[in-house]
């Protein structure tokens, strides 16, 4: 059975992103571009650190991602990054692998929702 794609509101809190970018659509789009680039790299960076046993470094990466996802109001990424940061601080935590998978899925959802998020931002701007 196919899984329905999540609603945009489950991926991005667009009104919050609009607020965080001070209603400046160009700036919001710049942030989305930067975030997408970051998401493309973060998965590899996290995997590498975990494989090398650098859990502290991986936790630090997850912490940064959590902060950035907060700025972007990327709800799901922020939530999973926070869980991952906590899990990485527990030696031998079995949840790390599953959380990395969840993070990958959440990152994919963000990248796939890029156009929808831009459209929603434009609509919000018009309504202001």
């Amino acid at each position: 059975m196919a899984v329905d794609a999540p609603e945009l509101s489950q991926i991005y809190d667009v009104p919050r992103l609009f607020e965080n970018s001070m209603g400046d659509i160009e700036f919001a789009e710049e942030l989305l571009d930067r975030f997408n680039s970051r998401l493309e790299m973060i998965e590899q960076a996290l995997q590498t650190r975990v494989l090398e046993g650098d859990l502290s470094g991986a936790a630090s990466e997850a912490h940064s991602l959590k902060g950035e996802a907060g700025v972007l109001a990327a709800r799901r990424v922020q939530e999973v990054a926070e869980q991952l940061e906590r899990a990485l601080q527990i030696p031998g935590c079995a949840e790390v692998s599953g959380l990395l998978d969840q993070l990958r899925a959440a990152a994919d959802q963000c990248m796939n929702a890029n156009i929808a998020a831009r459209t929603a931002l434009s609509q919000l701007q018009l309504s202001h």
Partner: protein
Amino acid sequence: MHLLVVDDSEIVLRCLEKTLVKAGHTVDKASNGEEALERMRSTDYRIVISDWDMPGMDGLTLCRRVRAMSTSYVYFILVTSHSSADDMVTGLSVGADEFIIKPFNPAELLARVRVAERLLAMETRDVALFSLAKLAESRDSDTGLHVERVREYAHLLAKQMSTNPKFGEVIGDAFVRLIYETSPLHDIGKVGIPDSVLLKPGKLTAEEFAIMQKHTLIGMQTLDAAVEKYPEAEFLRFARDIVASHHERYDGSGYPRGLARGEIPLCARIVALADVYDALRSKRVYKEAYSHQKARQIILKESGSHFDPDVVDAFLEVETQFAAISKKLADTTQSLADDELICRA
């Protein structure tokens, strides 16, 4: 305001920068604690906004180092996702002034920066006022009561004028407070006048009076330098206006620039009357102290020529309080302060 923002995330840095620049601030960025310290060695930042968790030197260590190295106060804001009471105690213990919880809201960030600016301006003002007042006081032990009386008179006039709808938008609480705080500095430039002129026990010659007149320019230049260094300090600009223009006359025949009417800053027009009233009421080597009635008569005669008629009107409304202040803060010794009216006589 020139700020330094520190965060290892390019996205967060960019967001902080954009928010602050849009609000008119100048922003430099650093991506870690070491880079921040390096920047602070060459630039005088008054506000630092730093992430707590950063690779290498974290925000707490940076804050400690800033406290250890800075000669002037740096307002330190920690941006963090650590929001427990223990975290806040830890942050405050190392010297942080404020916390912003991530993800930050731009409006909250700007509000926190405004708080920082207000506190920094107060600190700057306190230090500057104290230093300048002490400097002025050191030249003449009799000036203490003169500056106190002028401050009270000017404060009284400003409060009275604030009830006049004509000045409602100009003279608010801030104006009244500023004139109280800065009017004592009106003769600060006298520190640059030679003793032979400043302390001369008698009427000044024309040449000596020309030298005495320079105290307005000396004071103005001193405060202009301070304004350049601390452009956000409103009280310095206010003090500069008083110092530079309290000997201007409403009809344009005063000094140092011959400004007239509205060209003369309102605060200086107010201090001009307060200063002259005090000079008239004070004893000099060449005259006895005038009575309130005689001083009042002279001030009324000079309305529209020496004094702004609106300031004179305010004086008439509060003249009983003027007389009471004069009595309460009367000099016990003879003052050698200059008296423009008498020098001109």
